[in-house]
């Protein structure tokens, strides 16, 4: 009985330690259906984060490149196109019409994202 208690205690302690050591989850945007997220997109590690950003009509979205390699932000429909962004450089665009705006990095085309304007 004592041995079982010790085992359970040890497991509980391990779980607590693992939880404390686990990478903190990225604070996710408010996930309620239809509610807008923030207006920032962070570019890092060849990823646009968040990949899908929901904003209201008239919002200005700002992309910031935190990667150690340059990237661009280019709409697939021609709605917007940044110049090349080196580390810490930004690009902003104001979305005056509702719709879905897919975009990608023209230097690394596997990087894609979209802005949903409601």
């Amino acid at each position: 009985m004592k041995r079982i208690c010790v085992c359970i205690a040890a497991m509980a302690i391990s779980l607590v330690i693992m939880a404390l050591l686990a990478e903190p989850r990225r604070v996710s945007a408010r996930g309620q259906q239809g509610a807008p997220d923030g207006t920032e997109v962070k570019i890092d590690n060849f990823i646009f984060g968040p990949e899908t950003l929901k904003v209201s009509v008239g919002a200005t979205v700002t992309w910031t490149n935190r990667d150690d390699i340059p990237h661009t932000v280019v709409s697939t429909t021609g709605a917007f196109k940044s110049k090349v962004l080196d580390t810490d450089e930004k690009f902003s665009f104001t979305f005056s019409k509702p719709g879905t705006y897919p975009y990608f990095c023209s230097i690394h085309p596997k990087m894609t994202g979209k802005v949903v304007v409601q």
């Binding site: 060849f46 990667d67 661009t72 110049k83 090349v84 975009y103 085309p109 596997k110």
Partner: protein, 319 residues
């Protein structure tokens, strides 16, 4: 020290002994020279003397460099000027001076005029006085390659493709870094493929072909964009030729593959290394300890001896 491997097992009847071939490929990364001549593998270890011996008058030798990324200054290499200069020193120290240099793109990091100027300045001290370029995606920024064409596109067509001949070897420079589509890979496009078809249709089948382009023309790792969506069409145009060598850059590490009559080879960067396919979250610059940086950067020495089936391709690290 020379060792000779003989063709022992020819199961596929293609003249290549698989076991010996794999052994040869394992040596390739250490700077050994592997030459496949009519199915017989000959391997030579890298020695201070030229492994090819005396250069014959018909022999052709040139050097490929790639991905100088002039303007890059982050942790993976704060001194890309210094490492490009080290590459030039390496070129100038080769036992057989190259007749020309081939730069397979990403000359600059941000397509800035001063970045191109600096590379031009540094390459002036190379023994090879003739330089050939193809652009990387970093050379086409902000202006879809207009500046690249003004600087390096003389005599080329379209986005900068062209061909030339040296001592019986036909060289084809291709551009696969323009008009990239969202989620896509490198692309050559129908206009360039049509030009290439006309360019090679009258060549004799015995003409050795060298194709050079920035993004690999074989599927190295599509998840990271390390492939060209219509490369099969380009290679299809070269099926009739007995010897095809494809030289690429973009992935910042050496890699080679032989498929039938085609030898594929990617060069190291002179600026910074990138991780092996899938070995990191993303294909960005890879930091290594400062004293190891030169060992993961390099140049590629290429030689063609008349009458030999394949070109000999040998990678040398900078240090």
């Amino acid at each position: 020290m020379k060792s000779k491997d003989e063709l022992i097992h020819d199961h596929n009847h293609d003249g290549i002994d698989r076991r010996g071939f794999l052994k040869c490929m394992a040596w390739a990364g250490t700077g050994a020279l592997c030459v496949i001549q009519g199915g017989v593998l000959k391997s030579y270890s890298l020695s201070p003397r030229s492994p090819w011996g005396e250069k014959g008058t018909g022999d052709l030798s040139f050097v490929q460099i790639s991905d100088s990324h002039m303007g890059f200054n982050k942790a993976a290499n704060p001194d890309v000027v210094g490492t490009l200069k080290a590459a030039v020193d390496k070129i100038n120290g080769l036992a057989t001076p190259p007749e020309f240099l081939l730069h397979t793109g990403d000359i600059s990091h941000l397509s800035k005029p001063e970045e191109f100027d600096t590379v031009d300045q540094i390459l002036k001290s190379a023994t090879a006085k003739e330089l050939f370029f193809v652009p990387g995606e970093h050379d086409m920024l902000n202006d879809d390659g207009k500046q690249y064409l003004e600087r390096y596109g003389k005599g080329s067509q379209g986005a900068g493709w062209y061909s030339f001949d040296k001592k019986g070897v036909h060289f084809i420079g291709l551009v696969n870094v323009l008009n990239l589509k969202a989620g896509g890979l490198g692309t050559l496009g129908p206009e360039q493929l049509e030009w290439m078809k006309r360019d090679v249709e009258h060549l004799k089948h015995s003409t050795p072909i060298v194709v050079f382009a920035h993004i690999p023309l074989w599927s190295v790792y599509p998840e990271w964009g390390w492939a060209t969506e219509d490369s099969e069409q380009a290679l299809g145009l070269l099926k009739k030729f007995g010897s095809v060598t494809v030289l690429n850059g973009h992935i910042h590490q050496t890699m080679q593959k032989v498929e039938g009559n085609v030898t594929f080879h990617t060069a190291a960067s002179t600026a910074f290394p990138q991780p092996q396919p899938g070995k990191a979250d993303s294909p960005g610059p890879m930091k290594v300890p400062a004293d190891q940086l030169k060992s993961v950067l390099g140049i590629t020495d290429v030689r063609h001896v008349p009458g030999q089936h394949a070109l000999a391709v040998i990678d040398s690290p900078l240090g």
